[in-house]
């Protein structure tokens, strides 16, 4: 009863009007997402620039071998799937990750929809599924990073390299670090780590926010507040993380 007066004015800003018919929190989340979109664009456009500044592989895809002389074909780099060692399944695992993230976005919309109806039980259920989706995605990414860093047995002769304090000629690199990698020019691994890492960090923080909202739903905080707008706001963030992955998937893995 105490907050019924508050609920009536809750949608108005302090000036007594509501710009763009959106609440303060939602509008600020939108503006944050615009700035975050610029950050990710900066990374992806830098990737495009550096890639176009390297020679492309010109032969037939079936003859492709790793070399630091040209930019690799992404589908030849990302072709491993857990438990299926040695079988070439190009982009299958990344595809699975994409579907996981899209599905967790769907469960998030369902949580927001349940929040509009003030259906506490459904919000709890769908938030939990969203968290599960996010954690699964992070697990997949951890595996993909491990596989990328550890590398394949064959390795690649990358030529002159500075290893343990001295220059080595005809060095055979296995896997990847921030200086050298077996897949292509050093920039290739740097962009892989930075772009998927920055996105993965967004997924991680999204999971933390989602968990916080789930916890506050369970304790009845939003029920007492009289609305579930917080679900909507973290929902915007979570969909944005999915949106970024759609772009990363296309421009880092497919093109």
């Amino acid at each position: 009863m105490a907050n019924s007066a508050a609920s009536v004015v809750k949608n108005l800003w302090n000036g007594g009007v509501e710009p763009m018919k959106a609440s303060y929190g939602k509008l600020m989340m939108w503006f944050f997402l615009v700035s975050d979109a610029f950050t990710f664009s900066g990374l992806l456009v830098a990737y495009g620039m550096v890639r176009s500044a390297h020679t492309a592989y010109s032969g037939a895809p079936k003859d492709f071998v790793f070399s630091s002389e040209y930019w690799p074909i992404p589908e030849k780099v990302f072709e491993a799937v857990p438990f299926l060692h040695g079988i070439s399944l190009p982009l299958v695992f990344v595809g699975i990750m994409t579907f996981i993230l899209i599905l967790s976005s769907v469960t998030m919309v369902l949580a927001v929809e349940a929040g509009h109806r003030r259906d506490k039980k459904s919000v709890e259920k769908w938030m939990l599924w969203t968290i599960v989706g996010g954690l699964t995605f992070l697990g997949c990414q951890a595996w993909e990073w491990t596989h990328f860093i550890v590398g394949t047995e064959e390795g690649t002769i990358i030529g002159r390299a500075f290893i343990d304090g001295e220059w080595v000629e005809g060095f055979k690199m296995i896997g990847a670090n921030l200086t050298y990698n077996q897949y292509g020019p050093p920039d290739f691994a740097a962009f892989f780590f930075f772009i998927t890492g920055f996105h993965g960090f967004h997924v991680f923080s999204g999971v933390v926010f989602n968990f916080l909202v789930y916890y506050r739903t369970v304790t009845g905080m939003y029920e007492r507040r009289g609305h579930y707008e917080m679900v909507e706001k973290v929902g915007l963030y979570w969909h944005f993380v999915d949106l970024v992955w759609v772009f990363v998937f296309t421009f880092f893995y497919l093109v």
């Binding site: 664009s41 830098a46 620039m49 509009h116 259906d119 009289g226 944005f240």
Partner: protein, 113 residues
């Protein structure tokens, strides 16, 4: 919205079947477009690279449109909010063109043209 709050009931409003249907529909479209991207990546010959890239970009924009418009609900917000989110993205288009041009120049100067 306000009326339900002032009534101050804890009653749960029953789910709107139409809304759920719309959510599922968008999810299916996103899944199908992603599957089509895979089909294009592996069924179209490698030497049609430029056309493939164009198709990928088109499909990505379709997916982005559905995620932002429906999942993030932007196409149902007021027009001024919609445009204040969409229009700043013009700067990204400029950045893409400028940086790809720059990258090609770097490549050419490295190759000694």
């Amino acid at each position: 919205m306000e009326t339900t709050n002032t009534q101050h009931t804890t009653e749960v409003i029953p789910a709107d079947k139409e809304k759920i249907k719309q959510i599922i529909k968008v999810a299916v479209i996103l899944g199908i477009v992603t599957a089509l991207e895979f089909a294009v990546a592996f069924l179209m010959p490698h030497d049609m690279h430029t056309i493939k890239v164009a198709i990928f970009i088109g499909m990505t924009i379709v997916k982005a449109g559905y995620i932002v418009g429906e999942f993030m609900h932007l196409s149902h917000e007021v027009k001024s909010l919609l445009w204040s989110i969409i229009l700043p993205m013009v700067f990204i288009l400029w950045l893409i063109v400028a940086m790809l041009y720059e990258g090609n120049s770097v490549l050419e100067s490295n190759m000694g043209y």
